[in-house]
C-alpha cells in the first residue's frame, strides 16, 4: 500500500569517502572550465536523496507535449549554455526536439520571466515579425519590465517566506519594496545577499533587508531572546539552503554519519559541531521583538550584542544541545575562522558570497526556475562530494549534476559578470536549450530527460493560474495590500498570500492549487480532484465564464462593427492559449455558437479555461 520512491538511492559502496576538503581544493576557480566538455554520460547516473523531479518533469512533458513530426534539424548553439547542452547530446548521440514555435516560445518566456501569459497583440506582432533576433529582443524587453519585477519579487518573497504573521505587515511590505527596488536597479546578487545577512536595524519595519533574518527568529512564548541558539540555527540552516544550496537541517540535530549514508555523501562527513560553528556566526546576533506587552506584535530589532553561541543553549525545536562550551565560528565549507577585528556577520557574508558554491547554487536555482529541473535537483540538496567528474565518488554513486561543467561555467560567468541576475536569466532564456520544443520527434526515452533533450513542461503555479484567468477575462479584483492604501490586480503583485484573504473565493482557489502560506506550508504543484472542481465549477471561475458587464467577453460581443464568429473565436484562443485556433478548432467552436452565440462563447471560455494546455506551460 505504501509507495516507495523509485528514485530511492540504494547506497552500495562502503568505500572510501572523499574528504570534503580535498574536493574543495579542486574547486578553486582554476578548476572551472569554460571549455565545452563532452564526457561519456555515466550510465549509472542516479540521483540520490529526496524526490527526483527530473523523472516527474519528463513524464509531465511527454504527457502534455505529445510528439511532433517536425524534424529536429540543426539548432544553433547560441551561447555557453548551448555549447554544453548540445555538446553533450552530440557526444552521446542523443536526439533532441526542434526549436519551439514562436507561439509556444512567447507564452513560455512570458510565463517564466513575468509569471503571466502575453497579451494577444504581443503574440501577433511577435509572430509577424521577421527580425532574425526577435527572440532576443523579446527577452530583453521582458527582463526588467514591471511584470518581471513583480514575478521575481514575489518569488524572492516565497524563498524568504516573507509573511505578515512573521514580520508584520510593515515588515513584509518594506521587504517587498526593497527586493523590488534591488531587482529594478539590478543590484548584484552578492550585494543583495550581503545586505540581508549583515542588516542591523532598530526595526525591520524601517529596514527592508532586515526582515530576511528577522523572519527566522524562533520564539518561545516570550518576547525575550530565550532560545537564542535556536534562532542562530534557523538562520544557519536557511542561509546555507538559499545561498549555498546545502541542506543542513539534518546535521543541525545530529552528525551526518550513520544517518545520511543513503542520502548525501558530503553530509555524512559533517558533524553537528561543524553546524554549530556555522551557526556561531550568528551567535552574537540578537533578534528582539520590539514590544513589552504582547507576543502578538511582529516587529523586530537586530543587533549584535549577544553573548555568543553556547553549546549548552536550550532548544525548543531541536535535539538538546548537551554541550558545555561557547562555540567559535568557523565556515562549514572551508573551516575559515573570522577575523576577530571584523563584525562576525560581515565575515560570514564575505565567506559565503566569495565561495564558488555560492555562485553554483545561485545559478542552479535560477536555472531550475527557467528550465523546470535543476542541473542539481532538488536545488537545495547539493551533495558536495559528488560534484567533480575528476574526483568521482565511490562506486554506487554518480556525479550529482547532470551537467557539471555547465554548472561551473554558468557559475564562473555569473561571478565574473558581477552576480547579475538579469544577465543570467537572459543567458538562459536566449539559449537554444531553453527554446527547444516540448514536442519530441520520434520515440521519447526516459533517459533523454537528463540531457534536456526537450523542454520540460510545468503546471502553472497557483498564482499564475489566477493571474491568467483574471487577465484573460479582464475580470480583476481590487486587491488591497494589507497595511497600505495600495491595491493591485494580480496575485503575483501581492506582497504575501494573506493580502488575498478578503477575497474568500480567490484565496480559496489559490490554496487549492497549492499556494504556500510562507509560514510553514510549502508550495505544492501536485494535481488533485479539488483543483478540477475549482476549474470547472467554482464561483471564481463560473463568475468569469459569463459575459458579465466589464468582462472581455461582454466587450467582444458589443464591438461595433460586430465581429464574425471566427474573429471572436480567434480572439479568445489568443487570450487564453496565446495562439490562434487550429482550423478544426475554429470549425468546432463555430458550431457551438450556431444556436446561441453568447452561450456558445461562454462554453468556449469555459473550455479554454479547462483545456490542460491552459494550466500548463510548454
Amino acid at each position: 500500500m505504501l509507495r516507495m520512491q523509485v528514485s530511492q538511492q540504494r547506497w552500495a559502496g562502503a568505500g572510501a569517502l572523499l574528504l570534503a576538503g580535498v574536493l574543495l581544493l579542486a574547486w578553486g576557480r582554476p578548476a572551472f572550465t569554460q571549455t565545452p566538455a563532452t564526457p561519456k554520460m555515466d550510465q549509472s547516473h542516479r540521483v540520490a536523496g529526496a524526490v527526483d523531479n527530473r523523472t516527474s518533469a519528463s513524464e509531465l512533458t511527454a504527457s502534455v507535449a505529445g510528439s511532433t513530426d517536425e524534424s529536429a534539424g540543426t539548432v544553433a548553439r547560441r551561447n555557453l549554455v548551448d555549447d554544453y547542452i548540445f555538446g553533450k547530446m552530440e557526444a552521446d548521440g542523443i536526439p533532441h526536439a526542434p526549436l519551439a514555435s514562436d507561439t509556444d516560445f512567447i507564452r513560455r518566456v512570458y510565463l517564466d520571466l513575468t509569471g503571466r501569459p502575453p497579451a494577444p497583440a504581443e503574440v501577433k506582432s511577435f509572430v509577424a515579425s521577421t527580425a532574425p533576433d526577435k527572440r532576443d529582443k523579446l527577452v530583453d524587453s521582458l527582463i526588467g519590465s514591471r511584470p518581471f519585477l513583480s514575478k521575481w519579487t514575489y518569488w524572492f518573497g516565497d524563498l524568504a517566506r516573507a509573511n505578515g504573521n512573521r514580520i508584520g505587515n510593515d515588515g513584509k511590505n518594506l521587504f517587498y519594496q526593497w527586493v523590488y527596488n534591488a531587482l529594478q536597479i539590478n543590484t548584484s546578487y552578492d550585494e543583495m545577499v550581503w545586505l540581508m545577512l549583515t542588516a542591523e536595524a532598530v526595526s525591520n519595519w524601517y529596514d527592508g533587508p532586515a526582515s530576511y533574518l528577522a523572519r527566522w527568529v524562533i520564539i518561545g512564548a516570550t518576547c525575550v531572546d530565550t532560545v537564542h541558539e535556536d534562532t542562530s540555527d534557523e538562520i544557519a540552516v536557511h542561509t546555507a539552503m538559499h545561498f549555498l544550496g546545502l541542506n543542513l537541517q539534518c546535521v543541525s540535530c545530529h552528525d551526518g554519519r550513520n544517518h545520511l549514508e543513503k542520502v548525501n555523501l558530503w553530509l555524512t562527513e559533517q558533524k553537528r559541531n561543524d553546524f554549530w560553528q556555522q551557526a556561531a556566526f550568528f551567535g552574537k546576533t540578537r533578534i528582539l521583538r520590539r514590544t513589552e506587552i504582547s507576543t502578538a506584535r511582529d516587529e523586530y530589532s537586530i543587533d549584535d550584542y549577544g553573548e555568543g553561541y553556547s553549546a549548552a543553549g536550550e532548544s525548543v525545536n531541536r535535539v538538546p544541545r548537551m554541550g558545555k562550551e561557547m562555540i567559535e565560528p568557523a565556515f562549514i565549507l572551508t573551516g575559515e575562522k573570522p577575523d576577530p577585528n571584523k563584525p562576525l556577520r560581515d565575515e560570514f557574508a564575505r565567506m559565503i558570497t566569495s565561495h564558488p558554491q555560492f555562485a553554483r547554487a545561485t545559478v542552479n536555482m535560477f536555472w531550475a526556475e527557467m528550465m523546470g529541473v535543476g542541473i542539481v535537483d532538488p536545488v537545495f540538496d547539493f551533495d558536495l562530494a559528488r560534484q567533480d567528474p575528476k574526483n568521482p565518488p565511490p562506486e554506487g554513486w554518480s556525479i550529482q549534476p547532470s551537467h557539471p561543467e555547465l554548472l561551473n561555467a554558468l557559475a564562473v560567468d555569473f561571478a565574473e559578470h558581477g552576480y547579475d541576475i538579469q544577465r543570467l536569466l537572459r543567458l538562459i532564456a536566449t539559449s537554444s536549450a531553453y527554446q527547444l520544443s516540448s514536442k519530441f520527434p520520434g520515440e521519447w526515452k526516459a533517459s533523454y530527460a537528463k540531457y534536456y533533450a526537450r523542454k520540460f513542461v510545468r503546471r502553472l503555479t497557483s498564482e499564475e493560474i489566477y493571474d491568467a484567468i483574471v487577465s484573460a477575462t479582464n475580470m480583476f479584483e481590487e486587491i488591497p495590500i494589507r497595511g497600505t492604501d495600495l491595491t493591485v490586480h494580480y496575485a503575483t503583485e501581492t506582497r504575501s498570500p494573506e493580502d488575498m484573504r478578503r477575497f474568500t473565493n480567490a484565496a480559496f482557489f489559490l490554496k487549492v492549487f497549492g499556494q504556500a502560506n510562507r509560514d510553514y506550508s510549502e508550495r505544492n504543484n501536485q494535481g488533485a480532484i479539488d483543483q478540477a472542481i475549482m476549474l470547472m465549477n467554482s464561483p471564481f471561475v463560473t463568475e468569469r465564464v459569463v459575459a458579465a458587464p466589464g468582462s472581455f467577453l461582454a466587450e467582444l460581443l458589443s464591438q461595433e462593427p460586430a465581429l464574425s464568429d471566427e474573429q471572436m473565436i480567434e480572439e479568445l484562443y489568443y487570450r487564453f492559449l496565446s495562439r490562434p485556433p487550429e482550423p478544426e478548432e475554429t470549425a468546432r467552436s463555430s458550431e457551438l455558437m450556431a444556436t446561441n452565440r453568447q452561450q456558445g462563447l461562454e462554453d468556449l471560455q469555459w473550455l479554454l479555461m479547462n483545456k490542460l494546455d491552459f494550466i500548463f506551460n510548454d
Binding site: 535535539v319 490554496k511 510553514y520
Partner: protein, 471 residues
C-alpha cells in the same frame, strides 16, 4: 503573571510545575533512559469515521472546560456548579453542551510540546514534531487514515477519503499526504465559498454535462494519449474524472447543502456549517473517513472578554472568548444530537462509529489576565473534548490545581499529560489502524513511525492510546 508568560518549553513548564508543587509525576519524562520498543499495537477499531475540530489559536481552558473562577471572571459567564466530575461550568458560554454531558468526555490533562502556533498546530495535524528536514515527507494523520482505508474503498465511493474544512489561517497550513500517494491528500473545502461547486444543481446539470462532453472532445489528444510517457498527464485527467464523478453523484447534492433552518440550528457560523457538512459526509458514508475542521479565532492575546472594545465591524470571525465559545457550543451540540440520533440499519448510531476530537494546539495562560486583558500561549495543561467512536461520555479525566496551571492527576494509566502523539495513537486505534507501524525507506532514507517515540526535545516517551477514554 510574568511567571506564566515565561513558560516556553516543555522543560520550563516542568520546572514551573515543580515550583508550584505539582510537578511530581514528570519525573519519568525528565530522565528518559531507554527506548521502549514499539510492540505491534492492537487497534480497537471502534470507529469508521474521525472528525477533528481544531480550536485554532488555543482555547483558554480556565474559561471553558476546566473553569477556574477568579476576580477576572466576567459575571456574564453564569458559572454554576454541576454535580459529579465537571465542577464549575460557564452556562452562558456552553449552555447546550451543559445539557449533553453524557455524550462527551473531557480530558483536563492535555499537554503540548510547543507554545508556538505553527509548530503546535502541525502536531495536531500529524502527531509528529515539525522537523523541517522531513516536513516534505511526513503525512497528516488524515492522509494515513486515508491510505489505510484505501483497500476498503468501494467502487461506489465518490467522496475523497480525507476532507479538510475552513483551513484558512492555520499557520501550519494544511499538511498533505507527504510520501503517501497524492490521492490521499486533503480535499479542501471553505464553507464560505459556494458549495454548489461540489454538487451540480439539477438546473445546472445540462449545461455542465454539455461542457464536460465538449471538453473531452476539444481536449481529446491531450487527455487520452496512451503512451507510457503520458502518465502524468492522464493523472491530471483522472482528477477531472474523479471530480465529475463526485459532482454528479446524487449524494453530493445532499451532502453539500446548507439549508437555512439547518444553519440556524447549528448557530449560523462557519463552524456550524462545517459541522453540518461533516455530519452529512458521515451519514452519506460515500468514501470520506477523516474530516479536519479548523475552528478559528481562539488566539486571544488581548481583550479576551471583549471588555476593552467591541468587535470590529465586518470581521467575519467571532473574536471574544464568549463569541467563539458560543459558536462552538451552538455547532457541537446539534452535531452530537444528530450523530447520536441517526441510526444505521443495524441500529448503531453515527456517533457510535465516529470519533469526535475537539481541542486546541495548546491552552492559554491561567490566572489573572495580562496587562492587555488577554491570555498568552500555555502548553502545560489544557482541556480537550472527545466523543463517540466508543468513547464513554459523561466523564472527566485528569485534574489540574486550583489555578489550572499544573496537572495534578493525569487521569489515565500513564502518570503524565496526554500529548498529541497519544491523541494520534488513540485516533488510529479507534479507526482500526495499527499505530505501531513503521515505514522504512522513506524518501529521506529514514524510518517513519506512525507514532514517533522521540519528541522534538529528544524525550523518549511511550506514547500510546488513552484506553481510559473507552472503558
Amino acid at each position: 503573571m510574568g511567571y506564566f508568560d515565561s513558560l516556553s518549553t516543555r522543560r520550563e513548564v516542568i520546572r514551573a510545575g515543580a515550583a508550584l508543587g505539582g510537578g511530581y509525576f514528570f519525573h519519568s519524562l525528565w530522565n528518559p533512559t531507554q527506548v521502549k520498543a514499539q510492540s505491534r499495537a492492537n487497534p480497537r477499531g471502534s470507529a469508521r469515521f474521525c472528525l477533528v475540530l481544531m480550536l485554532d489559536g488555543g482555547q483558554s481552558q480556565v474559561d471553558t472546560w476546566d473553569l477556574k473562577e477568579g476576580a477576572w471572571t466576567p459575571e456574564e459567564f453564569d458559572i454554576r456548579n454541576v454535580s459529579g466530575d465537571i465542577g464549575k461550568w460557564p452556562y452562558a458560554l456552553y449552555p447546550q453542551l451543559a445539557e449533553r454531558f453524557d455524550k462527551f468526555l473531557l480530558a483536563r490533562s492535555m499537554g503540548a510540546w510547543d507554545a508556538v502556533h505553527g509548530r503546535a498546530q502541525y502536531y495536531i495535524q500529524t502527531g509528529h514534531p515539525l522537523n523541517l528536514a522531513l516536513s516534505k515527507e511526513i503525512p497528516a494523520i488524515g492522509a494515513i487514515v486515508a491510505t489505510e482505508y484505501a483497500s476498503r474503498r468501494r467502487d461506489t465511493d465518490t467522496l475523497p477519503p480525507y476532507v479538510a474544512m475552513n483551513v484558512v489561517r492555520n499557520q501550519a497550513g494544511l499538511v498533505n499526504s507527504g510520501f503517501l500517494p497524492a490521492k490521499n491528500t486533503p480535499f479542501h473545502i471553505d464553507t464560505t465559498t459556494k458549495l454548489s461547486a461540489y454538487a451540480l444543481a439539477p438546473e445546472d446539470k445540462p449545461d455542465f454535462e454539455r461542457r464536460w462532453k465538449l471538453l473531452k472532445e476539444f481536449d481529446e489528444r491531450l487527455r487520452t494519449e496512451t503512451s507510457l510517457a503520458a502518465k502524468t498527464y492522464r493523472d491530471y485527467n483522472d482528477h477531472y474524472e474523479g471530480a465529475v464523478r463526485l459532482m454528479s453523484d446524487p449524494r453530493a447534492a445532499r451532502i453539500f447543502q446548507l439549508p437555512s433552518e439547518e444553519r440556524t440550528r447549528y448557530g449560523n457560523s462557519r463552524t456550524g456549517d462545517a459541522c453540518i457538512l461533516a455530519r452529512n459526509l458521515i451519514e452519506a458514508d460515500a468514501g470520506t473517513h477523516f474530516i479536519f475542521v479548523d475552528v478559528y479565532n481562539w488566539d486571544q492575546h488581548s481583550n479576551i472578554y471583549g471588555s476593552d472594545r467591541p468587535r470590529r465591524a465586518g470581521n467575519p470571525y467571532p473574536s471574544t472568548h464568549q463569541e467563539v465559545s458560543l459558536e462552538l457550543d451552538s455547532a457541537l451540540a446539534p452535531l452530537l444530537d444528530d450523530l447520536s440520533g441517526t441510526k444505521r440499519t443495524d441500529g448503531t448510531s453515527l456517533l457510535d462509529e465516529t470519533l469526535v476530537v475537539c481541542m486546541g494546539e495548546f491552552g492559554r495562560t491561567p490566572g489573572p489576565l495580562s496587562v492587555i486583558n488577554g491570555r498568552d500561549h500555555f502548553p502545560g495543561a489544557f482541556s480537550a473534548l472527545f466523543a463517540g467512536g466508543g468513547v464513554k461520555g459523561g466523564r472527566v479525566l485528569g485534574k489540574t490545581d486550583e489555578m489550572g496551571a499544573t496537572i495534578v492527576e493525569s487521569g489515565w494509566h500513564e502518570k503524565r499529560p496526554i500529548y498529541p502523539e497519544d491523541v494520534a495513537a488513540t485516533i488510529y486505534s479507534a479507526m482500526g489502524v495499527d499505530w505501531g507501524k513503521q515505514v522504512h525507506e522513506t524518501p529521506s532514507g529514514r524510518t517513519f513511525y506512525y507514532i514517533e517515540p522521540v519528541t522534538a526535545q529528544s524525550h523518549i516517551v511511550n506514547f500510546q492510546e488513552v484506553t481510559e477514554f473507552f472503558t
